[in-house]
Amino acid sequence: MANFIQLLIGGVSMGILYGVVAIGFVLLWQTSQTINFGQGELVMVPMFLMVALHIVLKIPFWPSFVLTLLGSGIMGYLFERLMIRKLLPGGVLVIVIATLGLSGFLRYGMQIAWTPQTLFFPHLFSTKPIELGDIIFSPEDIWNIVLISVIIIVLHLCIKRTKLGMAMQAVAQSRETAELMGINVRHIITLVFVLNSVLAGTAAVFAAPIFFVRYDIGIFLGVKAFVAAIIGGFNQIRGALVGGLTVGLAETFAAAYITTAYRDAFVMILLLVVLLIKPEGIVGIKEEAY
């Protein structure tokens, strides 16, 4: 039982991290019908930025963190204004191809411009295990769960309780109707891209001590988050979170109880099962086919 609870905490800690990146996929899809295959690189670039600020330039952690989020936001803004806005009329396939290209450019650009090596990033919280009876767990996992949960709750409240959030929901439901209500859809889409990048930047800071900083970390995180969004439901924010937790728990338990060699394969099998049984995802809403 103690082992089970330890795995549960570890799985939730990992899953909530996937979830926060997956939320970005869902936000972009809902507001602009965009699938961003460069999502993982929106995590990778802030990781390197954090290393540059905190490790190389030795700027204290919190100012580095704020500057990283600022940099992420600017990256999201430029991403939307210089690329997505121009390509959006071409449809989803054009966006997919373009973001795949951007993803490769950022990944290998970082490898050439900085390093192909893995960079170490210090832990944000104590890693000294806490013992509660037979249960031993890392405070880092608990802090990750608590802090990312707070971020997700704040995001949820902003979307549900503010006028800006209502406008975002309106754009997600019908862009045409939103325009007729006087909502500036272009501004909302830009804002969502900035928000997505800031969320990815936040995930980067939490993920850096766990996964370390590598030029190709974006593939790993991007694919996991994409799979999480599909498993949970691509058209629901809570779906991304449910999907993230499902993936995190599935790979953790599979690694512990089956074999570590197949932990990723187990997640993909889970994806296939969900697609066969409930293609809209665990909490996704079935959409009409056109």
Binding site: K163, A170, G182, I183
Partner: protein, 247 residues
Amino acid sequence: MPLLETQKMTKDFYKLRAVSQLDFQVERGEIVAVIGPNGSGKSTFFNCVTHIYPATAGRVYYQERDITGLPTDKIIRLGVGRTFQLIQLFLEMTVFENMLLSVQEHRGTLLSRLFTKDDSGDVERAHEILEFLYISHLKDELASNLSYGQQKLLDFGMVLMPRPELVLLDEPTSGVEMEMRGRIMDYIRELNKQGQTFVVIEHNMDVVMNLCERIIVLDYGEKIAEGRPEEIQTNQRVIDAYFGVEE
């Protein structure tokens, strides 16, 4: 100067000319009907005015300002309200949320709307309009759960929420029961007295003849007649357009 004016407005869909060289004017405080057989270009005309479709040629002026090519949301925020033949609602939101959403963008900025709680009487106004339309008991229902007639009323209520100076109504009474039809007409007259201007596309001739002071008739995208209701009723070109010409 007219409140709304189009000059030589033309809209082509490939080789089909939906609206042809249309000159149209509405003065402040008027209630004008746009009628014509199916496919005569009435809704396309509305769509070009509000830039749902870009006009192929011609200009649109609102409050003496050239609004040709402005984005739809900007035209709406300038004070133009618009309903559609096919109802435009946020189906996954409640009736009340729909009402409030229809007005919130008319004040403040993107960021101020993140923090402000001020509704400047919107809640009260939404209650009043829903009450008038007999759908206040449905305020917490999802819009998707409403009947077609109720959705039509909600759509009408939403367009009135921001008090637009010019209201373009596309078949506002279709699918609405008799008694409510009369109430909607009375309400339009009342709002008109308070200064709002209406342009109405309508197939129901009782509504057109009783509500509107001036009628413009379109056929194959062209204006074939314009005048007071009694003049239009006896206009031979209009009769021919609706009933065909005897061989």
